[in-house]
Amino acid sequence: MDRRYIFKIMSDPATLKQTALFTAHQKLGARLVDFGGWHMPVQYAGILDEHKAVREAAGVFDISHMGEFYVSGAAALDFLNGLLTNDVARLAVGQGQYTLMLNEQGGVIDDLILYRLHEQEYFLVVNASKIDEDREWILKHLPAGLGFADKSDSTSAVAIQGPRAVEIVRAFLGAGWPEPKRNEITGYSWNCQPILAARTGYTGEDGVELFFGSEIADGFFTALLEAGRPLGLKPCALGARDTLRLEACLPLNGNDLSNKRTPLEAGLGFFVSLTKEAHFPGKDVLLKQKKEGLAEKLVAFRLKDKGPPPRPHYKVFQGVTEVGEVTSGAPSPTLGYGIGLAYVKAGCADPGTALELEIRGSRVPVEVVKKPFYKRAL
């Protein structure tokens, strides 16, 4: 394992993809890194500062690298219900839901947010690293007569997250902005350009995600920062996004989710409808798992004492027996101790269970705790 972070070999920057906000990030003094093939900011002022800004006021993240798909047509609901785990029939127009797309083995291809924009039109927001794989999978299953569009390249997006997020977006868009409620999406305009505003996020705070055309991205972002700064808005980057989402126990695909782990193992059963009639890929595997019980589960754990932060791939032990592996880990800026997520044997998954991590040859005691680590006050 190459642990030399500052020496991390970056691919030739010329080969990395950039969002429409790349120049804006450079001007803001961002530290830019290779993030799954994208040249993205990992921090501006510092991860701890940015983390705190989001917990106490608000931060804005460039999420333009994420993918945006549209599915439309009379049979769109039935098609999506046969593709995704959550029950699409529960979505009224203007509502969104977290859902998962699985392979035939029940493993996770991607986790995404599905919004119903109109009666027969759906909007999917998928992970940047999975855009191509997701599109191929959808097109492979797409019946004739349904429309599909991948607008990832022409769409930019920012997430404004934190207790002051809604106030800031209103200051930016004006009093006429139809404020979406939790998990809702509304259409609006900025400088006569159409935008979408969703009350969603990936930080454990209240927040709004704004989607807009890449051609207006620079002006949009600058105007948003200007409107938000007096209210405490700070530019935030992927480093803080990772510690924020981990405190909220929101899984990261590629770390906590993979094509070899089912959403039941990941503790995401709430977003899987096994009772809906539609048959989605992997459903049989999940039904079997539910009946027979899980062998391993994704648990949240914390360090018992001050010690080295947990990191992905550290092995988990109970006594001399290896019982699992860490998938995400970091020092928690809010809590002040190391936290993480790990897949462990089901017998070790109850909160209160004492386990140990192996870190550089030493054993470090941890305790399984209830999810999430951090929950915002309502």
Binding site: R4, Y5, I6, F7, R31, L48, G239, P309, P331
Partner: protein
């Protein structure tokens, strides 16, 4: 522009070393602490350990990642900085003084010739 004191020698892997009476004091550069940012934990070598130049002997953990620290010279570790256990943030605040990492008794002073001077290190990091 980062701080690069004239009187120190530098390894390409961003450690500095200061020699006094055959004992080297080692830390990481201002540039390195800035690149790492927000140091939260430091794992130091054991006193008495015999180490070889260029091998990983310590680990500095920032919020984002763990980074190996390499010994710029070969020898025996004679002291590790106890202050960093309780105050890892010293690495960000005072990389050339309070946040020295360890002291090492050099086994071959000629190894110092392979290290860079301030101008060489400055050129390396493009400043």
């Amino acid at each position: 522009m980062s701080n690069i004191p004239e009187q120190l020698r530098y390894a390409t892997s961003h450690e500095w070393i200061k020699i006094e009476d055959g004992i080297g004091t080692v830390g990481i550069t201002d540039h390195a602490q800035s690149e790492l940012s927000d140091v939260v934990y430091v794992d130091l070598p054991k006193v008495g350990a015999k180490v070889v130049a260029g091998t990983a002997v310590a680990v500095i953990e920032s919020v984002k990642a763990a980074s190996d620290i390499y010994s710029p010279v070969s020898g025996e570790i004679v002291e590790a900085n106890p202050d960093l256990v309780k105050k890892p943030e010293l690495v960000n605040q005072d990389p050339y003084a309070a946040a020295w990492l360890f002291r090492i008794k050099l086994s071959d002073a000629k190894e110092l010739d392979a290290l860079k001077d301030a101008a060489g290190y400055k050129a390396q990091i493009g400043e």
